[in-house]
């Protein structure tokens, strides 16, 4: 996942719609990832019995590790996709 790695030198020139679109797309992606992460880590770490409104120590620790692992999975999947892009398969659009 790259975040706003877009180049661009002159700091006060007119705004470039192309670049803003790319920045928006990247923002959307980070947001989407965050929403899915919230959902996935809830499923992995939070019991649905709701005996208390607090996160217990186990749940808190589980969440911390869950987020770290989610980032690692993101990196790992990115590597496999890149490798695939040079080979004979890849993410396919409609």
């Amino acid at each position: 996942m790259s975040f706003l790695g877009l180049g661009g030198q002159n700091p006060n020139g007119p705004s470039n719609p192309q670049k803003l679109l790319a920045a928006e797309a990247e923002l959307d992606m980070v947001t989407d990832m965050f929403n899915r992460l919230v959902e996935s880590c809830h499923e992995k770490c939070i019991k649905a019995d709701y005996s208390s409104g607090d996160l217990n120590a186990n749940e808190g620790l589980c969440l911390d590790r869950c987020v770290a692992k989610y980032f690692d999975v993101n990196t790992k999947v990115g590597e496999v996709s890149m490798r695939g892009a040079d080979g004979n398969y890849g993410l396919e659009d409609t």
């Binding site: 975040f3 180049g7 700091p11 947001t31 919230v38 709701y50 987020v67």
Partner: protein, 85 residues
């Protein structure tokens, strides 16, 4: 972010605020849906039972703490990722 010029950063900032608004609302809707799914299972009455009320209270509190903690860790990991580049 420093690769966008000043004007672009300004426009981008507006965009970010709009998105955060939508994002916040989406998170809220998903909180309502999750706690409804987990806590409400009796459809013999149209009023929430006290048991359901109590479950909803804890479910919401827990979800809020959950998303706050995940949000913090997410930002830390994201910041670490930015520095590596």
């Amino acid at each position: 972010m420093d690769q966008l010029n000043n004007r672009e950063q300004q426009e981008f900032q507006q965009l970010v605020e709009q998105k955060q608004m939508k994002d916040f609302m989406r998170l809220y809707s998903s909180l309502v849906q999750r706690c409804f799914t987990d806590c409400v299972n009796d459809f013999t009455s149209k009023a929430l039972s006290s048991r359901e009320e109590s479950c909803l209270e804890k479910c919401s509190e827990k979800f809020l703490k959950h998303s706050e903690r995940v949000g913090q860790r997410f930002q830390e990991q994201n910041a670490a990722l930015m520095q590596k580049r």
